[in-house]
């Protein structure tokens, strides 16, 4: 196997507060290979965005990486600071945020924003950078790229704006893209366009993509592998088909069961009782045990189980594959 583009080992993020230390990301490890799309799913508060922000160095203090290592293309990046991090970010890692309106500067033409990024990260002349900017817009499917380069962000529709943001993330040819809920603010038909675009780019350029989303449908269609997070911990990791059709962690199973599906008809949806615990009141043992149908004594006392070999489910009593699911 080729060496992974992104490798996260035992990543732990801490937020010190007056009432103690909160741990939104706890001992998370995963790899993303070149050209691979890893879907990171979980409900709000699961720590999926926080893990993405930790990789690109956007944790806002007092949140900080307390433990663990992050490697991009074999280079360790978690301890980089200031200028070093800035140079790396953008060149090696591109970021696509949920809201395309707030991730562009409304006062600058998109061409200027693109060339600025290219000049900062690539060793090219201004005219080459401008050429590259038009090319980047063309690649993400914006019609009439040469003219549109002089438009302001407000002159684009939501879907087109998200394309511009993707172009911006791609223009320095990063080897890793972190897409944090890239289609959540978009309509279904536009969402399909953006997902197809991400998949295409990933295939053609061999870019690794971390796709953070809460939409299981999007993950099923776009991702190669999926990581399921709950209360800051990685609870299940594996190829997307295996995890979604034969989930082994009871939380994944519950999540799949609560998604309305045509094949299930109009029966009651399966519901997971309760809600995600607050970070300052995490249950002892496995964080999912108060909501889990399979809880036994061991789950309440023993520290959380971890994933073996970076795959499978972090559960004392995982469901056996082949058990009834969807």
């Amino acid at each position: 196997m080729t060496s992974p583009t992104l490798s996260i080992r035992n990543l732990t993020v801490d937020i010190p507060t007056r009432h103690g230390i909160l741990r939104p990301v706890d001992n998370v490890s995963y790899d993303i290979a070149p050209g691979e799309i890893l879907g990171v799913v979980g409900e709000s508060g699961a720590g999926k965005s926080m893990a993405g922000n930790a990789v690109i160095g956007l944790l806002s203090p007092p949140a900080h990486i307390a433990k663990g290592e992050i490697h991009v293309n074999g280079q360790r990046i978690d301890h980089l600071k200031g200028e070093d991090m800035r140079r790396l970010r953008g060149k090696h890692i591109g970021m696509v945020f949920q809201d395309p309106l707030t991730s562009l500067n409304p006062l600058l033409r998109i061409g200027d924003q693109l060339t600025e990024t290219i000049l900062a990260h690539l060793d090219v002349s201004r005219s080459q950078a401008e050429e590259r900017a038009v090319q980047a817009l063309d690649e993400v499917g914006i019609p009439g790229a040469a003219e549109r380069i002089n438009s302001y962000p407000h002159e684009f529709s939501g879907g087109m704006r998200q394309r511009v943001v993707i172009a911006l993330a791609l223009c320095a040819e990063p080897s890793l893209i972190i897409a944090d809920e890239p289609t959540t603010a978009l309509d279904v038909s536009v969402q399909a366009q953006i997902i197809a675009l991400l998949k295409d780019l990933c295939r053609q350029k061999g870019t690794a993509v971390m796709l953070i989303t809460h939409d299981m449908g999007v993950v099923a269609e776009a991702a190669d592998r999926v990581a399921v997070m709950y209360a800051g911990k990685l609870v299940e990791l594996g190829p997307v088909r295996d995890v979604l059709t034969t989930p082994r962690h009871p939380y994944t199973d519950g999540l799949m069961g609560s998604t309305p599906l045509a094949s299930r008809g109009k029966d009651r949806l399966h519901q997971i009782p309760g809600a995600m615990p607050r970070l300052d009141a995490l249950p002892k043992g496995c964080a999912f045990h108060p909501r889990c149908p399979l809880t036994q004594n061991r789950c309440k006392t023993d520290p959380k189980p971890t994933l073996a070999d970076g795959a499978g489910a972090a559960c004392w009593f995982p469901l056996t594959p082949g058990a009834e699911v969807a």
Partner: protein
């Protein structure tokens, strides 16, 4: 008789610039047709869903139904009473008491300075009704605890707040509840809890819902009848099984094909072309014709009427 009967409903917003700009820049007045000639009926104790992308006018219809916006043309009749035109105040009042609404954002739709007890009792208190013990009873009905009545909204999670919104909507014992994207702001597992609660309440209390959503899977799960909106026009209307198994309008087909599906791993969708057109200058004839694979000359000239086609109603010249 249908509980709600909507006929040729149209809503036009004036989106012109201020008059001084118009004079200096020689601009004409601009109008946005948010809802255009929409007709449908909602049967008692049924769930009617409106689906569509942003800008399709689904929320505007919901607002006109509850009387938050007056229609520009056409009518909304609830039990034969047209809220916008009825002159008998008592009749309007009687109908109004039967309608409630649940909004999308459970954070913005609860007053942060009020206790939950007061929030829930408000629809009854505003009419001078008896409110003692009401909030506690309703809280238990929606799966919260009676002790929660003394708390403030910020002490609850998103799903719990949406339950409070539902309790408030139930307080005046309405017949019809307009639900505008009630689960869009919630996580999947919480969404399942709220959807189950809503269908239980419907069965227990004989409620009728107008369910507004952009999420096709949720609509398919909960509805008895579905209307698909595009650019303020109703393009297809059918029972959910018919609509999802056998969509007839090219727009509905595109929408269903584009929606991500759980079972289709690594599926390569050929993404839909184009975007929703500018509603201030909508295309002539059928609004979908610039993106439609079936479009012919007739489509750009003549707006298709609703016609009945194998268990569904479709507004398309060429749908088979």
């Amino acid at each position: 008789m249908a509980l709600v009967s909507i006929k040729n409903l149209t809503r036009i917003f004036d989106v012109s610039k201020p008059w001084l700009n118009r004079v200096i820049e020689r601009r004409k007045k601009a109008y946005l047709t948010a809802v255009s000639d929409v007709s449908f009926e909602i049967e008692e104790t049924k769930v009617y869903s409106l689906v569509g992308e942003s800008g399709s006018g689904k929320s505007t219809i919901g607002k006109m139904l509850v009387g938050l916006l007056p229609p520009s043309d056409g009518s909304v009749e609830i039990r034969g009473v047209d809220l916008a035109r009825e002159t008998d105040a008592a009749a309007v009042d009687a109908v109004r008491a039967d309608i409630q609404m649940i909004f999308q954002d459970p954070f913005a739709s609860l007053n942060p300075r009020w206790r939950v007890r007061d929030i829930i009792a408000e629809p009854v208190a505003a009419r001078g009704g008896e409110t003692a013990g009401l909030a506690e009873k309703l809280l238990e009905q929606v799966g919260l605890s009676a002790r929660d009545a003394g708390k403030f909204p910020h002490e609850f999670s998103g799903g719990q707040r949406q339950r409070i919104c539902i309790a408030r909507a139930l307080a005046s014992e309405p017949k019809l509840i307009v639900c505008d994207e009630p689960t869009s702001a919630l996580d999947v597992s919480v969404q399942a809890q709220v959807l189950n609660l809503m269908s239980d309440l419907k069965d227990d209390l004989g409620l009728t819902y107008l369910f507004i959503s952009h999420d096709l899977t949720v609509v398919q799960h909960i509805s008895d009848r579905v209307g698909v909106l595009y650019l303020g026009r109703l393009v297809e209307e059918a029972p959910p099984d018919e609509l999802f198994d056998n969509p007839k309008h090219p727009y509905t087909q595109m929408l269903l094909a584009a929606a991500p599906q759980l079972g289709s791993f690594g599926r390569d969708v050929s993404p839909p072309k184009g975007e929703i057109p500018d509603p201030i200058h909508p295309p002539t004839g059928c609004a979908y014709h610039p993106r439609c694979p079936l479009a012919q000359e007739q489509c750009s000239a003549e707006r298709p009427r609703m016609r009945v086609l194998r268990g569904a109603k479709v507004a398309c010249h060429f749908a088979q």
